[in-house]
Symmetry: D2
Subunit: 134 residues, 4 copies
Amino acid sequence: MHIVREMLDTYPADFGETDKAKLASCIQACAECGQACTTCADACLSEDMVAELVTCIRTDLDCADMCLATERMLSRRTGYDANLTRSFLEACAAACKACGDECEHHASMHEHCRICAEACHRCEQACRELLSAF
Amino acid sequence: MHIVREMLDTYPADFGETDKAKLASCIQACAECGQACTTCADACLSEDMVAELVTCIRTDLDCADMCLATERMLSRRTGYDANLTRSFLEACAAACKACGDECEHHASMHEHCRICAEACHRCEQACRELLSAF
Amino acid sequence: MHIVREMLDTYPADFGETDKAKLASCIQACAECGQACTTCADACLSEDMVAELVTCIRTDLDCADMCLATERMLSRRTGYDANLTRSFLEACAAACKACGDECEHHASMHEHCRICAEACHRCEQACRELLSAF
Amino acid sequence: MHIVREMLDTYPADFGETDKAKLASCIQACAECGQACTTCADACLSEDMVAELVTCIRTDLDCADMCLATERMLSRRTGYDANLTRSFLEACAAACKACGDECEHHASMHEHCRICAEACHRCEQACRELLSAF
């Protein structure tokens, strides 16, 4: 999704303190994680053992919603607020950690959980790197 | 939106520690705040002085997105996770505080900002009450 | 959610052709339906017979997402576009019909499906009334 | 976002009629278009001439919301419903056309509108190709 960086480069004002490359990585990681979680929740629903995957489905849905809020928030630069950005990133890292850990429990049985766990851990990492850049 | 409480009452399992009335209040406050912020952003866009309201619009959009993620998360009870709930509530309270404070600056000039500021402060309060119930 | 109408009343410009009361009803019906669908999907996940409810869960999630897009779109008045409004309303009515019909199949067994089916049918009806007002 | 195709490949059941490559392209086009629209709305907010871009901002926000609903819907395969899929795709194509046309008016002045218009037209095209595959 090279469009993330392309769009950031068109922003009419300077970015100030934030590192643009880390920001683009984090937006993209949120987009990929949200997509993986939405798909993983649905793939879990189609497994014969769905009854054992209900916590995984629920955590996927929470994580998809928080990744979306964070992706959109990070994509906005007007009236930038460092404290608010930090709040979103911390909540997103928490959602990604919870979902990544849950999916990891099923990673050896379900390929969708394995890929989703990786996307969650990448997104958690991207949020933490952006947090440490402040 | 009495449907929030009606739906919570149909949940197949017991709720354990969480106070159901506070939960229903918080879900409803998130729904109302998200709706107010979406509408306030658009009303700001239609003001002649839109150029002075761009930070308000941006904060409205962030707050609407975080209220949505929190409303949906709180509506889910399966595989309940107290730590994750806390993360969402803290981020939502922060988004509501930022948006409520911003809208308050324009409350005397714009009725939509006045109503929106009140919805934000009610939602912030509902999040903090639910946080204190843990 | 009387805030819907309160906020519409603060919009800085005239509404022209659209009936404000029908618009407020439809926005509110979308908000309630989206909330009911999100909650119903989660309640289904907690039923012992979840394996028989997977189509219901999936339709709930689709309907929640379309109700959200439509609620937000209808809440915006700036640069109003009748054709685009019609497209959203038709898709939302279709999503509500599909979900309402699916939930109805389980209404006698699951109270959450009964309430959700009613919310879906009310929202479908509100969309169709707004469509006929053009 | 190769994760879209990777995740589709892990789905536990067969896809039947739908062409998996077209589906993956359309999901990805929705994700990119939603991201471009969210960013374009914010970039417009930061332009000195924001007052002339309010319709563009509004159409961006509508399009972002519809792309999200469609991206998520298409990512779900459980209980697949061809009629419902068609409804979402038609509404998404309409939102992308409206936003692409609006952004095109400003493409020569604003690079973000130029890139966003292209993302909208690609997404409209991807929706129409998937529609024609039914």
